[in-house]
Symmetry: C2
Subunit: 425 residues, 2 copies
């Protein structure tokens, strides 16, 4: 058992911050939270074990539910095109390099290191079509002690010849990855079925991936309704489905197992209803959507409909791996939606985006992203003293950290109860 004392802030529900000044969180030896307390129970044995972090903030760690590991080298570059030409011009050529395991190891080390630096303890990651590179990425997560769902990407049409795999290759690759992680992982690093998006995958590949999902129960991730040209293209490619999401659904890749769909900028009507019915997650990537001029996802509508929502950086269409930035953009994009609908869609509050970045995304991994009893203790210790030079409340301190803070402020990082040291870069 470990007991930490600090200013504790978390969000059991989206609407309100739970704030315990100089409170205690008790973490069991299995890494799960026993409870959060204003005062410790009368037990001298407990009191001796307290690790007092003084006036710092202790918050749940961040979860990035949509990020492309092999695009890390392009982060902060090449943002002058929209989605489809951006993929062909910048992204596919970079991903092709991951055929070389040594290249992959060198860049993936930096990627995992940066997740650690930014306080992102769990992520849902697109790798590439390359099984060896993808295994290397999964192993780096295991070594770092961080949680991740790692996807070997399936893509066999409308992509460069050098960046395609066959249906057999993606299924075989996933089986190898799963076997490897079943043997070497502790359940925190898992495979996830990853058709790139409908235009990249033939009927045969989507069918096989859907069957593999059904057979294994493994989760699924892909892209949905990011950009108008993409949506038109999907309608041409799948003329017998009435919405883009319906194309995934047809193949058993839309909530038949736990499913993440990134973007959903233009999701509405039938597609939204299908997501609600099937419990499909929206992964909102507002930084990326701004960079690629994709659009502004109607997150308020998703929340009102009871659809689960998480946040993602979508590096490298998103230009930064900080979930703080994603929270800022999520609020700002929701304000533009608010202005353009003349107030019909109230914008997101601070506690709502903090919820999405912690418990909202964390829920995809189980009981992650909160300090409620039974939750895995994923946490960040934040020293905001340089921002706290006047008489700010704890809620204001959290707000200023989200708007003004960066990786420098994170002093300790915990994943499932274990404090993580800096990964080798």
């Amino acid at each position: 058992m470990k007991i930490y004392r600090a200013n504790i802030i978390y969000t059991p529900t989206p609407g309100k911050l739970e704030i315990i000044p100089h409170g205690y969180v008790v973490v069991k030896s299995n890494g799960l939270v026993e409870g959060v307390y204003k005062e410790l129970p009368e037990n001298m044995d407990w009191r001796r074990q307290v690790m007092d972090f003084g006036d710092k903030l202790l918050i749940p760690a961040f979860n990035d539910l949509h990020v492309h590991a092999p695009q890390y080298r392009n982060m902060g570059l090449a943002l002058d095109l929209e989605l489809l030409p951006w993929l062909n011009t910048y992204t596919f050529p970079e991903e092709t390099k991951y055929a070389d395991p040594e290249y992959a190891r060198r860049l993936y080390r930096r990627f995992v290191h940066e997740l650690w630096m930014q306080g992102t303890m769990r992520s849902a990651v697109f790798a590439t079509i390359h099984p060896e590179a993808t295994r290397i990425l999964a192993d780096l997560f295991i070594q770092a002690g961080m949680g991740a769902m790692v996807g070997l990407v399936g893509m066999n049409r409308n992509s460069p010849d050098t960046l395609q795999n066959t249906t057999d290759e993606v299924i075989e690759g996933m089986k190898m990855l799963k076997a490897h992680l079943d043997e070497h992982g502790d359940g925190r690093v898992m495979p996830i079925i990853t058709p790139r998006f409908v235009p990249s995958c033939s009927e045969k590949m989507l069918t096989a991936l859907g069957e593999y999902a059904k057979e294994t129960g493994l989760p699924v991730q892909s892209h949905l309704s990011e950009n108008r040209s993409e949506i038109s293209w999907v309608h041409e490619l799948e003329p017998d489905t009435t919405c883009y999401g319906g194309a995934y659904d047809k193949y058993g890749l839309f909530g038949q197992t736990p499913t993440l769909m990134a973007h959903c900028c233009y999701t509405d009507g039938e597609e939204m209803e299908l997501m609600r019915k099937n419990g499909v997650y929206v992964v909102h990537c507002p930084m990326s959507n701004s960079n690629l001029s994709s659009g502004m996802a109607p997150i308020r509508k998703f929340l009102n409909a009871g659809i689960p929502v998480a946040l993602g950086t979508d590096v490298s269409a998103g230009h930064h791996m900080s979930m703080l930035r994603v929270m800022q953009y999520a609020i700002q994009v929701s304000k533009l939606n608010y202005a353009q609908t003349k107030g019909e869609m109230p914008f997101l509050s601070l506690s709502e985006v903090f919820y999405l970045a912690t418990k909202g995304g964390g829920s995809f991994f189980g009981q992650v992203g909160s300090f409620e009893p039974g939750y895995e203790f994923d946490a960040l210790l934040v020293d905001d003293s340089y921002l706290n030079y006047d008489n700010y409340t704890l809620e204001q301190r959290l707000e200023r950290y989200i708007y003004l803070g960066d990786d420098r402020d994170i002093k300790r990082r915990f994943c499932r109860g274990v404090e993580l040291t800096e990964p080798v870069m």
Copy 2:
């Protein structure tokens, strides 16, 4: 004379980055640039004086043409309201505190320190209605060695009783400030006539400020067409003018002397034509406009019309003092405009926003913001080595610094040829 060697990047024109790998900039003893060279002229005396910064980047310093110094404490807070209620609920109460010179000194020190930290060597600053506090702010700029236009704010209606001055008070205060700076400054810290905005200033005050501008030739700064409710309100208050800008123009505060107008989210038609004719600057504050859900200024249209454009953080409606962030938002907002006009307004390029953040805004201070001969040497030395782990070009290195960098990366700061040390905080 001083000679610096580094990777030199600047923008004489908006369309193209001028890049000199391992080039030389020669700075005369008066602080002005003598020239930039790929190789030094054959002169042994020059060669002995070279200060070699190795592989770092040397770029013009940033210029923030719209920022509210007394809102510094609120930075990263209180972004849950639109402009008019935001002013009344959060901003006016904070500005009222600047009646106390000791409060002002304590917070203004931090503000000037942060400008230095973020590499912003010149700024156009709103202070408050308080002459003593405003003089303290001007003195802090002088001590720091940074350039600034400092405005004592005029406001005598539609504001709290505790935050109003009379027409006589604002004119007397400006005269005192001008006399003080004429005596103690070196021309880099100057007064600027600052009616808050039309709704805050009576006809009498606007008339007197216009006459004072005419009499002294001093520049003017204010707010224009930020938000729809504000524009309607101005139409009610000034029924005989046909556009918001026309109300300033009527009083001689719209380009009769050099003029900055912040925001211009809804400026078009007659107002745009008046700005063009009078050479009024647009100060684009996209971070603020997103935070207060104000709107998206049509910057491409302003540039096409030949209207001068600068960038501003607009702290604390903008939540961060980094001009890097403002450049990111300027591109992103232009992309949303691009998407919503179906491509009619091409979005801003990296070299365009870099130009706006350096020479675009710098031109308001004279020959500032470039390394062309005769320009004041305002510069930042940037160490991006942690971002430059692979084979990136210099243009890519600049792009990654703009998207991924922060204050840590700035190793030296120069203003008019002098390297500035860290101001007392």
